[in-house]
């Protein structure tokens, strides 16, 4: 019997390590070391219900486990074979307890390929990876296939880049393979910069070997002996796991010279990002590795032709690589049987926002937004109404109710005015102000712009200022038109993907939520009630007793009135802090 404890960062923050420790201690106390073993694994994905403890082989899935529950789990489940019912997942509609995760609404529609090992193995143990067919794909490639045959399989599978660009991976490898040079490089882009995104982090923390294996296969295909993982410094656990994995590989001869006796040399090194979102752009990433300022350069030339140190370089995202070993082992036909016509396979999404089941999911391309949000995601939290879903992070757009039946794939999302991006999916409800959402994303891109090209450096700043003006109640309808034109020109002229997509949140919210913008500028109200500056605080004269509690609490002296006379708030001075509302004992303060 194995007790798998989720070691993903979310569950770790909820003391999953202590849980693992307590379980081990209880096993020892009851002398059950020969019957039961505790394994810390990668992310199970059901972050909303963490910390997760899964018992195998009976597949009992315990949720929201606390360190105090460990004694009971061991004494009841392990020793006596009796499940601890109160820790089982309760279906919100049927109220039934569900023991096996495959019956849960969250998991039923998921197919985990990139996440195949997350939640199953100890990522710090190479033997567990090998036991689940790890490095078999590399072995097959090195001993049974030529580089071109491997490339053909990847091409046939239809795998497209999972970092956001969606470029056909097999074709990218083929181009790099075709360029002659004395040294080539395989680069894994592990800079995952989208705010709130943690798809790549989970793969790196939960299954680092899948990346190493894929990079080695790629090196074999394109003729590179060196691999570099560019990983953001904000992922210390992933860095640690990669280092352990690489060390174990070298000990086993799976990295280094003459891998598996094939004559193929390959090894990897790590390089750290230093807090720049723009360094997720492949040319900026390469320049960062070269010790230069992390700024993108014009493409062409593309990295496959001239990349790191001017040599042919293949850059792929973590999730793209994670799919490669599975494709080689199970075949291109299998992979291309999943998904839509132009987007094959699955996609990992980080589901967040006003949704019941927050977590990490992997679904076949073609799954609809409705299925993801309402079946897998369990619907909107607190019974509120769905308003929009933001896909693609700061580069994407907002999709509305009328898009809910869109099958998710690269081209459909672009046609709908958004993009897949790297997999961030933020769900919004009626209390979210779409103008504020656009402003939030622009705050991010203004901060992260490298500053090289004028449209992004100055243009995004101006877009942001204009949105601030609108959210503070000082905007006009002409300002909204200005946002549209400026946003379109920035998209048309910016040098790199950051600037080319940063206006998307503004443009898509203007398109789909024009009425909300109009309300902000012509009526000066925020329909969602989120923009503080547009809240109107007034005193109901019939309820006001003139006790002066509010005027005394006002930090800017906006409230005036005689004692025992109804007081009045000066809307121009009012900073909408809400202090008066909190102080009034007569509910005489009305907030609009």
């Amino acid at each position: 019997m194995h007790l798998l404890v989720c070691g993903g960062t979310g569950c770790r923050a909820s003391q999953s390590e202590r849980i693992a420790g307590n379980l081990k201690e209880e096993i020892k106390n009851l002398g059950l070391e020969n019957e039961a073993q505790v394994v810390i694994t990668g992310c199970f994905g059901f972050c909303e219900k963490g910390p997760i403890v899964k018992i195998v082989p009976d597949n009992t899935f315990y949720t929201q486990v606390k360190p105090e529950d460990c004694k009971e789990i061991i004494s009841e489940h392990v020793l006596k074979g009796r499940k601890v019912t109160r820790l089982l997942y309760e279906d919100p509609s049927t109220k039934e307890h569900i023991s096996d995760s495959k019956h849960m609404g969250f998991y039923q529609k998921q197919i985990r390929i990139a996440l195949r090992n997350c939640g199953f193995i100890n990522p710090e143990n190479i033997d567990e990876y090998i036991a689940r067919d790890g490095y078999a794909a590399l072995g097959k490639a090195l001993t049974e296939m030529t580089p071109q045959q491997v490339i053909d399989q990847i091409k046939k599978s239809g795998l497209r880049g999972r970092g956001g660009g969606g470029f056909p991976t097999g074709l990218k490898w083929e181009i790099a393979a075709g360029n002659k040079a004395d040294q080539k490089y395989v680069v894994c882009n592990a800079d995952e910069g989208d705010p709130g995104a943690f798809m790549d982090r989970s793969i790196l923390e939960g299954d680092p070997h899948s990346i190493i294996e894929a990079m080695a296969i790629c090196g074999y295909c394109i003729g590179a002996t060196k691999g570099i993982v560019y990983i953001r410094a904000e992922y210390p656990l992933a860095i640690q796991r990669l280092k352990i994995a690489a060390r174990q590989c070298r000990e086993y001869g799976l990295l280094g010279a003459d891998i598996m006796g094939s004559g193929f040399d390959f090894d990897i090194e790590l390089r750290y990002g230093a807090g720049a979102f723009v360094c997720g752009e492949e040319t900026a990433l390469i320049h960062s590795m070269e010790g230069l300022r992390g700024e993108p350069t014009v493409k062409p030339p593309f990295p496959a032709q001239s990349g790191y140190m001017g040599k042919p370089t293949n850059v792929n995202n973590v999730e793209t690589f994670a799919n490669v070993p599975a494709i080689l082992l199970k075949g291109a036909e299998w992979f291309s049987s999943i998904g839509t016509e132009k987007s094959k396979g699955t996609k990992v999404f980080a589901l967040a926002g006003k949704i019941n089941n927050v977590g990490l999911i992997e679904v076949p391309m073609g799954t609809t937004l409705r299925e993801v949000i309402f079946e897998i995601g369990g619907g909107i939290k607190d019974g509120k109404k769905f308003k929009a879903v933001q896909t693609g992070g700061p580069s994407g757009g907002c999709l509305t109710e009328k898009h809910l039946d869109t099958p998710i794939d690269f081209d459909n999302l672009i046609a709908a005015g958004s993009m897949m991006g790297s997999g961030g999916m933020i769900v919004m409800d009626e209390d979210d102000c779409m103008v504020s959402v656009a402003k939030f994303y622009l705050e991010f891109t203004v901060d992260e712009s490298c500053g090289k090209c004028a449209p992004c450096r100055v243009g995004n700043k101006r877009l942001h200022e204009m949105l601030e003006k609108i959210c503070s109640g000082k905007g006009t309808i002409e300002d909204v038109e200005y946002l549209k034109n400026l946003g379109a020109v920035i998209k048309d002229t910016a040098l790199c993907g950051l600037g080319q997509t940063s206006p998307n949140p503004v443009l898509s919210t203007i398109e789909h939520f024009y009425d909300e913008y109009k309300a902000h500028v012509t009526e000066r109200i925020c329909p969602a009630g989120q923009c503080k500056a547009l809240k109107l605080y007034t005193i109901l004269a019939d309820k006001c007793t003139g006790c002066t509690a509010c005027s005394r609490s006002c930090p800017v002296g906006a409230i005036s009135g005689e004692k025992r006379q109804p007081h009045v708030i000066d809307a121009d001075k009012c900073i909408r802090c809400g202090a008066c509302y909190d102080k009034c004992k007569f509910t005489a303060i009305h907030v609009q």
Binding site: A276, R293, E295, T297, V298, P300, V446, D447, E448, S449, C450, G451, K452, C453, A454, P455, R457, V458, G459, K461, R462, E465, M466, E468, K469, Y482, N485, L486, V489, K491, D492, T493, A494, L495, Q500
Partner: protein
């Protein structure tokens, strides 16, 4: 990518603005357009092809064009033509984009054109006029990126006006390899500055001023000394004399609408006299003097070497370029006894003026104001170096640039084009052809060779023109036959090339006897005080040719044959490298630790 290299390669066809043209494969859209008379505006792209200097960040996004089949607009400077490409350079979509981008740049730019020293020369101002910008859309109190201002003796930095074209960064780092400027900060506040936003005076800056020469706005400008000229000329107690560098006469005319390469020596003298200078002398006189001193020094070292002296320092390095001297003091402190100890012509002139000429006039040195007109900004720094002062009084009081002289002439309402040619005054105004070629790369060493040859071989030079020393390639070498003894010469212009030569010398790789270094592209004619070339290297080539034309037209073309120089030695200095000459005309160098 240097487009002229591709002229022998495969040809492809593109359509640009409905015109079908043939271009070499690898040509960019921008270059293809330029070669066919279609002007695409730009702010950051710079290609001085005669000098192999290119800046191409693709960042201003002003040169964008429509390319059929491409979703977004393409930066024409960085997009190569492909066979069958259809390009449109001035559609409504493109114009809207260019205007919007320019508006954005202007929204973060000070609006003080009226008093900005770049007004009338500013590429940003010109583009704004061309595109008809009348309004800048932005919120009230829109954010602007502002920075501390930095004033150095030679140039001023006002980075509020920086548009991040990166030309200064490229020229300082890649071309000059000085490394004083690079991009700092991220996003809206990004700017080009010295490390830790130091002032230039504390940085490795050599004051070559090439950053000023390429800056498209008023962010980097020369230090303005015209006020000092007016004050000096207005002071009745002072005798104010002026010396003019060779490179000025080949470029001053450009400021008055003349073709680049027009020699305006006579008009320049006339204008200076009209402005009110008591005497108009020529730095070229002092250049002949420099040749006497440095040529003798060179021969001295060569003779010792040929006699078997193992300790003698060869090659001898020319030392008349102050930016080069700064570069040397920063980077080659272990070799400070290698350059010639001769001062630059500007400084030799100042020293002779304040010691010898004051004697002739019977006035105190404090009552003589020596002004120089230079193509150079580093000369402003050079004249205030402590070692060139006596009791706090500088040998050269201050230096103005070619452009500052032009602005004085315009302010004084002098019709330059209508001036009658005038001659320099004596005794400090007569010079040879050898002196005038100081203005071009290779000129100093050719002048030195003309004199050294005759002194060494005691024979008359048959052929005065040493064409093997001429040209615009960054590093050139030649061996001159001194009647059986081969003298090896190395020449470099642009400090990056100087570094290559110096690193090689330090490593003991070469056997040069003499090396000439100029910091500026093309030599002094490409100096930062000259009229702006706006990215057209044909201007520099034209000035270069003009210098050699002036030399060819002179009766006396070897420095040692200048009768006034001969007289100066007879009457005052004695002989080259005499004690007096050492005291007045030579210097030593300092360790600077700024790299």
């Amino acid at each position: 990518m240097f487009n002229n290299v591709f002229s022998v390669m495969e040809k492809i066809k593109i359509t640009i603005d409905k015109k079908e043209i043939e271009v070499a494969k690898g040509t960019t859209i921008y270059q293809a357009a330029k070669d066919n008379g279609i002007h695409i505006p730009t702010l950051c792209y710079l290609n001085l092809d005669h000098l192999k200097i290119e800046n191409r960040p693709g960042g201003c996004r002003v040169c964008v064009v429509e390319v059929e089949g491409r979703k977004n607009l393409a930066p024409s400077c960085s997009t190569e033509c492909t066979n069958g490409m259809v390009v449109k350079t001035h559609t409504v979509r493109v114009l809207n984009a260019r205007k919007t981008v320019l508006e954005l740049i202007l929204s973060d730019h000070p609006k003080d054109c009226l008093i900005c020293s770049s007004s009338g020369q500013c590429d940003l101002q010109k583009l704004s006029q061309t595109l008809g910008i009348r309004e800048i859309h932005a919120v009230e109190n829109a954010a602007v990126s502002t920075y501390r201002k930095d004033v150095s003796p030679a140039l001023k930095r006002d980075m509020d006006k920086c548009i991040m074209c990166r030309r200064c960064e490229t020229i300082c780092n890649t071309v000059q390899t000085v490394g004083a400027l690079s991009a700092i900060n991220r996003g809206f506040m990004s700017v080009v500055a010295p490390a830790f936003e130091q002032d230039l005076i504390d940085s490795p800056c050599t004051f070559c001023g090439q950053c000023v020469a390429v800056c498209p706005t008023g962010a980097l400008t020369p230090f303005d000394d015209t006020g000092r000229v007016i004050r000096a000329l207005s002071d009745p107690t002072k005798t104010v004399i002026v010396q003019t560098a060779p490179a000025v006469r080949a470029a001053l005319g450009e400021e008055f609408g003349m073709e680049p390469g027009t020699l305006v020596t006579g008009k320049m003298v006339a204008a200076l006299r009209t402005l009110g200078f008591d005497k108009v002398f020529d730095t070229d006189f002092a250049a002949d003097l420099t040749i006497m001193e440095e040529g003798t020094e060179l021969l001295g070292r060569i003779s010792k070497f040929l006699e078997g002296d193992k300790n003698v320092k060869l090659p001898i390095l020319t030392s008349c370029c102050p930016a080069w001297v700064n570069f040397f003091e920063n980077n080659y402190q272990d070799m400070l006894d290698v350059p010639s100890t001769a001062r630059s012509p500007q400084q030799m002139f100042g020293s002779i003026a304040k010691n010898y000429y004051t004697q002739l006039l019977g006035i105190k040195r404090e009552d003589l104001v020596v002004v120089s007109v230079m193509p150079c900004l580093a000369k402003k720094y050079e004249c205030q170096r402590e070692e060139f002062k006596t009791n706090g009084n500088p040998d050269v009081d201050f230096s103005i640039s070619t452009r500052e002289l032009a602005s004085l002439i315009k302010a004084a309402n002098i019709d330059f084009n209508a001036l009658e040619d005038d001659d320099y005054d004596s005794p400090l105004g007569e010079s040879t052809g050898a002196a005038v070629i100081f203005g071009a790369t290779g000129g100093v060493i050719e002048a030195a060779v003309r004199t050294a040859y005759e002194l060494f071989t005691k024979k008359k030079l048959e052929k005065i023109d040493f064409t093997e020393l001429r040209g615009l390639e960054g590093i050139r070498t030649a061996s001159i036959d001194f009647n059986g003894t081969m003298i090896n010469i190395g020449i470099a212009h642009q400090l990056g090339n100087a570094r290559k030569l110096l690193d090689g010398i330090r490593a003991g790789l070469y056997n040069f006897h003499a090396i000439e270094i100029m910091a500026c592209p093309g030599g002094c004619i490409g100096g930062a005080g000259q009229p702006l070339h706006h990215g057209n290297s044909d201007v520099i080539k034209a000035r270069f040719d003009a210098i050699y034309r002036e030399d060819a037209g002179k009766k006396i073309r070897k420095s040692h044959e200048n009768p006034y120089i001969v007289k100066l030695y007879e009457e005052y200095l004695g002989h080259p490298l005499s004690e007096k000459a050492h005291h007045l005309l030579h210097t030593h160098y300092f360790e600077k630790n700024k790299n």
